[in-house]
Symmetry: C2
Subunit: 419 residues, 2 copies
């Protein structure tokens, strides 16, 4: 079997299918998404059986508990995936929207029309739910999608792909619009990343190692984020109760995700009063604190933070804390050590709120709210295909609209150019 040839065939077929999917009516896409949800529910036993094979392999290979958790499908999980597809079905169809239109002095009517990107490649790890989620979002936006999950979930992903394709067939949508790459070899990913004549964009989802591999090898534009080193800055005028609640939520609610707080910055005037309150709450939740020298004057029990801690994405119940002289130092620290992902300020000061929003160049900047809101669904995009810290095309959580682009459409009545 020639891997390059097989992947090329998959990509060519996706390209062909993309032309058809781009022209589907909103109704046809909605109907397909509901049929796909129905099929997942109807084939739950099959999906669980195939998932069982992956879980058995995972046990045998001694994968970590966290990895196995991410891999496992349950009846409830499948119902959630199906419900997700139904919610995507209900979102407005972005394709064909004319976002702006204006008339030129020579009478030309110029507009921008939203169109699908074409073929989207998604490369991900572990979680088999991404297979259905990404398929649904790409289809809604009129794209074909090529899905390449991790080898550890290969049985689950292949089964889910087959179930989705069968449902799409009933809706008259070509199977090649949603393809799961059936190969476990890493060469399959490398082959995929060279096919820039067929694939328009690559969205990698997973750990930093996977994403760096994709960026290094891709000839296709990649939308990605490496990591989320998210900051909360507690300003001098922060309301202490609000500061404690936001810090606790940002660090503890789900420490393993990219929008969790990793570094806390505290204004020197607030440190003595607020830091002990925050420390009590976080230590009570099992968080290990690491602080700068000034933090440790207030919280002597805290371990010393090193330079590395300011760059760290712990994805765990660990928090770095730094006392800063003012908002300027906080913004500078974020610019130097941050990952342009998500940052929040807690403040009662109008000018500081506006300055933080204006000057912090991260993809999501919040005033008096938890970093955990940096999420497509939470921000009202209806769903999320990923988060971008690449500034090109999209910056921050990406919804269905970000899976489209716009072309210029121009209505004339015989205009020619004279200069």
């Amino acid at each position: 079997m020639d891997i390059n040839k097989e992947i090329r065939t998959i990509a060519e077929q996706a390209r062909e299918a993309s032309f058809k999917v781009a022209r589907l009516s909103s109704e046809a896409k909605e109907r397909a998404l509901h049929l796909m949800a129905d099929a997942l529910m109807a084939q739950g036993a099959l999906l669980l059986a195939e998932n069982g094979k992956d879980l058995a392999n995972a046990e045998q290979q001694g994968l970590s508990r966290a990895m196995v958790d991410r891999l496992a499908l349950t009846e409830e999980g499948i119902a959630g995936i199906a419900e997700g597809l139904r919610q995507v079905a209900l979102l407005p169809d972005p394709v064909g929207e004319v976002t702006r239109m204006w008339r030129r002095p020579n009478g030309l009517l110029v507009g921008k029309m939203r169109i699908p990107l074409g073929v989207i490649g998604v490369i991900y790890e572990a979680r088999p739910n991404v297979t259905a989620d990404a398929a649904g979002l790409c289809l809604k936006a009129g794209n074909a999608v090529i899905l390449r999950g991790g080898s550890e979930a290969i049985h689950s992903n292949r089964a889910m792909g087959r179930v989705l394709q069968e449902a799409m067939g009933k809706a008259g949508i070509p199977a090649a619009a949603v393809q799961v790459i059936p190969l476990v070899e890493r060469e399959a990913v490398e082959a995929m990343l060279t096919l820039d004549e067929y694939i328009d964009v690559i969205i990698p989802r997973g750990g930093e190692g996977l994403i760096r591999f994709v960026v290094e090898h891709s000839r296709i534009p990649v939308i990605k984020h490496y990591k989320g080193v998210c900051h909360v800055f507690v300003d001098a005028t922060a309301e202490p109760g609000m500061a404690v609640a936001i810090c606790h939520n940002a660090k503890v609610q789900r420490p393993g995700v990219c929008n969790a707080m990793e570094t806390l910055l505290v204004h020197q005037q607030a440190a003595a009063t607020v830091l002990p309150l925050i420390a009590e709450k976080l230590e009570g939740a099992g968080v290990e604190l690491r602080g700068c020298a000034r933090t440790r004057q207030i919280l002597p029990q805290v371990k010393e933070a090193t330079e590395e801690d300011w760059y760290a994405e712990y994805l765990d119940l660990i928090l770095a804390i730094k006392v800063v002289a003012d908002i300027g130092e906080a913004i500078a620290h974020i610019g130097r050590y941050g990952s342009q992902h998500t940052e929040a300020i807690v403040t009662s000061d109008y000018a500081h709120a506006q300055r933080f929003l204006n000057e912090v160049a991260s993809s999501t900047v919040l005033v008096n709210a938890s970093t955990r809101f940096s999420d497509g669904y939470q921000l009202g995009l209806g769903a999320e295909i990923g988060i971008s810290t690449t500034k090109l095309h999209a910056f921050g959580p990406m919804g269905v609209e970000d899976l489209t682009t716009t072309k210029f459409i121009i209505y004339g009545d015989g205009q020619i150019r004279t200069s």
Copy 2:
């Protein structure tokens, strides 16, 4: 001299400067652009003298007439460049615009704010006017820019860079916001393309060879178009006079540019009447015609077109002509052989006009107007930094707004996430 080190220093300084430029007020940027225009006018003699050195080298090296034409500066040309900067000064400032804002059920107010991209690298050939044009547009959008022109224009570009920097200094803008790479070695370009931690996007402008080199070597996202194989489709119901005028304009007005027509598609029902009229007009203007078999039945004097002609970007007074059975065949031909740049239909049929606009997946699609309008200034963007046929970020002519991205800004009053 270590080229890599020198380029890295330039990029680091650009990064530093970009933070300052991003925060400049609209007034400061306007003032700087006017001072830059004044300085170009005041230093005309210097610029012409330095340009003379490049022209002398070009003669010595036997560069083509066309190349020397593109390289040559004149007093009139410099006045045009200065006027261009003044026009950019007058454009609305895109930075800080909040493009949308909505409230979430939990009270969060979520918006998208336009911010600069950061550091833009422009890699181009020959024309020294690009140095000032690109500098002006990048600065207007709050970016720092690194300019790398061709070695054949090195004296002109360096001189222009110095003049612009001096003017920026008077406006309090760091010189590092606009830097011309003073090195002629190709290694300087390669070094630049690896610095993804300092440079946010690369915009190459020039021939297909240059652009392919940049894409091949860049670790930084590239916005580009390889070529423009633009089509005009003359439908069965086209008004003959309009078809002739649009075809003549699209092919002849400026044949060497990317939005000129390269292939003409004619509906079989219109061919017998319209093709002779178009041929007469174009042959009268010195255009060489190459046709399919059916074209040659009507125009026996025409050379036979080969498969290669359908892919060709002639950039010259040559035109490929194909008679097609219907609009479906025209759209399919464009999809197969086109470059997703610009296509026009000439028709009197309402449904065909709408179908062509909807189904042709090129960056600019026109009804009853010349392909030559695919240009940022002509479409009302105020100016143009380039044209993208990459669908990511921008698709089609790019103005100042396309040199920005948007971040999410969120106003809360203590919200934390509960699910």
